[in-house]
Symmetry: C2
Subunit: 394 residues, 2 copies
């Protein structure tokens, strides 16, 4: 009588949740410091001091009505203007507050954009594997079809594969770079090829194919001088979904935005985004946090620990003989299991109290995801475990 | 190409938004203190000091990771336990954290419950007029049919009308008491009749008819000694949607819950609720606010101003000859326009810089909604305007 689909989703086995339960049980026995938990995407770098200062300052110097009242559905003007100015300064754009709608995080942003763009059950949303598994839940939840296209062996864009999978029903492609779970940043050349392909195919099909960029890791670039291609400057029909969950370490606060540039051809996309936010019950983004973002939008994340962990693990693991996609951003490594069975590897690792997530749900059974947003000491300790595990395969 | 339904929702004319724009324009000319704006449901009573103290205290005494990290999808255990304890103390129930799922406010709660319960396009959700107009958007957005049943002239439950409108497709009835827009609290006797009717009809149809209680105003009872019937204790298949937007004056912070008591027959309802929260992109409720609620759940709202405004307006308006549904809770009055045309009245009121919302969207063209969560001085001033307006009709 109640929705069987929702029951299925609510009771679905979650590998990450099961690992967390195992980790909690082992922590109680051996101490949390001895469980090498690489399963979660909760940033280990604390939210910058500017955020705490902003919260306390806003509360001390304003009446509660100022920071606790509803904002408009799109969000506070001052917050959206501050974000537009930040983007304009960095990317040479000319956005205003009217290009932005504040949301309760990237998951909300993506759901709002899916609901806005998907107009029929025939619509296809293309997802590039490896990918964040909740995409599937949301795309199917909004009645569209997910079309999976694997990336190349180096986890870079497979533009020829995308060409073959495009159909007149392709409504959009999700691009998530820096990527969860691979940590790869798609190269400018390959993104350019993708954009050229979509211009060609949009013309051929007679309607735009949207690029939906999922960018919570945009600011987490761990190679000095490397730039993440800013896709709205490369392809007109781009809609950006952003969140401060990772860049300001605020995952619990649910604060992000949808950006619809003026270059998007269909001038009704932002109206559809506003309608979708309304119909999904997202009245407004948390208002105290909107005021915090207004003040902290120019604060850069501290990447020192993530860089250190990345170098330590990537160098150590490749030296041990592991094949690892070259991680340039985010805080993930996507490691090939020695025999191509990540589920078996994840099980074996538990014997050493080390938690890594099998890649099956991310679109590759051969790989496992390691979230290195943890203490550096645990990264160091893990190398000895990885060495022992590799020995088991030889 | 993009969703035409979403464009329609995103561009829909909003009477309240238009009144707000008019109010802002007039404020610039005559000063905000001279615009009698009764259009919005933003609480005028500030969030209690305990809330500000809790936020500052949490920040000063914890690492950011403690309050900014993801919680589980259902929410922090400590927060949910505190809420369960509060309810148990007041209503003699035996809830635990497992009966609660934290949400981003009542709009999120309702959307999650609709998504969980609605299993087919034939499903009907019954709405009792007058009602909060977004119900329609959400019910239709989740693919069900809205069935409207008007309340009686005194805005109390019309149990016979509900009986006539029930069908084997009735999935749920929304009960919102204290009511937006009428301020009426449904009497215990009539709620009992409704519950008895639903027991009878559930049996007849061979499946439960759910009561979805939308309770953001539960704590806003303005008549001493009057009790709001706690429906989960009267009817087993009740699912509660709550928010602290009004009781703690936190509308911008988006914090609330869904309560599924153990008495609900179908033991999979909470699983479906969890699945629905997931598929709609509600990753978790804002975590800093979850910690605030944990500490402030026992704080009572200060109702002094609302009581004063209610008495002043209800007494003054009835003396002037207006017919007003007897308001017992929330901070709304639902006033009959002298000639039954609230849209005309609202237009006339603008000439005096007074903003009242025509009731058409709430399900009654004859009435207008007056939100008296404003300074008492404005309520006093408004009576002179209501007097002049009444004179225009004579």
């Amino acid at each position: 009588m109640v929705s069987q689909d929702m029951i299925k989703l609510g009771t679905a086995k979650s590998v990450i949740r099961e690992l967390a339960a195992f980790g909690a049980a082992r922590s109680a026995v051996v101490g949390a410091e001895n469980v090498l938990d690489f399963s979660l995407g909760n940033p280990s770098v604390p939210a910058p001091k500017e955020v705490q200062d902003a919260i306390v300052d806003i509360i001390k110097n304003n009446e509660p009505k100022v920071y606790h009242s509803y904002s408009s559905g799109a969000g506070h003007d001052a917050c959206r203007t501050a974000i537009a100015n930040n983007l304009n300064k960095r990317f040479g754009t000319d956005y205003t507050k009217d290009n932005l709608l504040m949301t309760c995080g990237a998951a909300a942003s993506l759901n709002i954009v899916f609901k806005a763009l998907i107009a029929s059950n025939d619509d296809e949303i293309m997802v590039l594997a490896p990918f964040f598994p909740e995409y599937t839940v949301w795309i199917e939840g909004h009645g569209a079809k997910q079309v999976l296209v694997p990336c190349k062996d180096d986890m870079q864009l497979n533009v020829e594969g995308i060409r073959e999978a495009l159909t007149p029903n392709t409504k959009a492609i999700i691009v998530n770079s820096p990527n969860n779970p691979s940590g790869v940043i798609y190269t400018k050349e390959e993104v350019e090829q993708l954009c050229a392909l979509l211009v060609e195919k949009s013309k051929e099909y007679g309607h735009p194919i949207y690029l939906i960029t999922d960018e919570p890791y945009r600011e987490l670039v761990l190679i000095d001088g490397l730039e993440v291609p800013f896709i709205p400057n490369m392809y007109d029909n781009t809609v950006v979904c952003y969140s401060w969950s990772k860049s300001l370490s605020l995952p619990g606060e649910r604060i992000g935005y949808v950006l619809v540039p003026n270059k998007v051809e269909d001038k009704m996309v932002m109206a559809a985004v506003a309608g979708a936010a309304r119909v999904l019950g997202y009245v407004c983004a948390p208002t105290l946090l909107q005021m915090v973002i207004e003040r902290c939008v120019d604060v850069d994340p501290d990447l020192t620990v993530y860089k250190k962990n990345r170098d330590l693990l990537y160098d150590g693991l490749t030296k041990l003989g592991y094949r690892v996609a070259k991680p340039a951003g985010a805080f993930y490594l996507f490691i090939e299991a020695p025999d191509g069975d990540s589920e078996k590897f994840s099980e074996k690792a538990k014997a050493y109290d080390m938690l890594v997530v099998p890649g099956t749900g991310f679109g590759s059974k051969a790989h496992m995801r390691l979230s290195y947003c943890v203490e550096t000491e645990k990264c160091e300790k893990s190398l000895a475990v990885f060495e022992k595990l590799m020995a088991e395969y030889k």
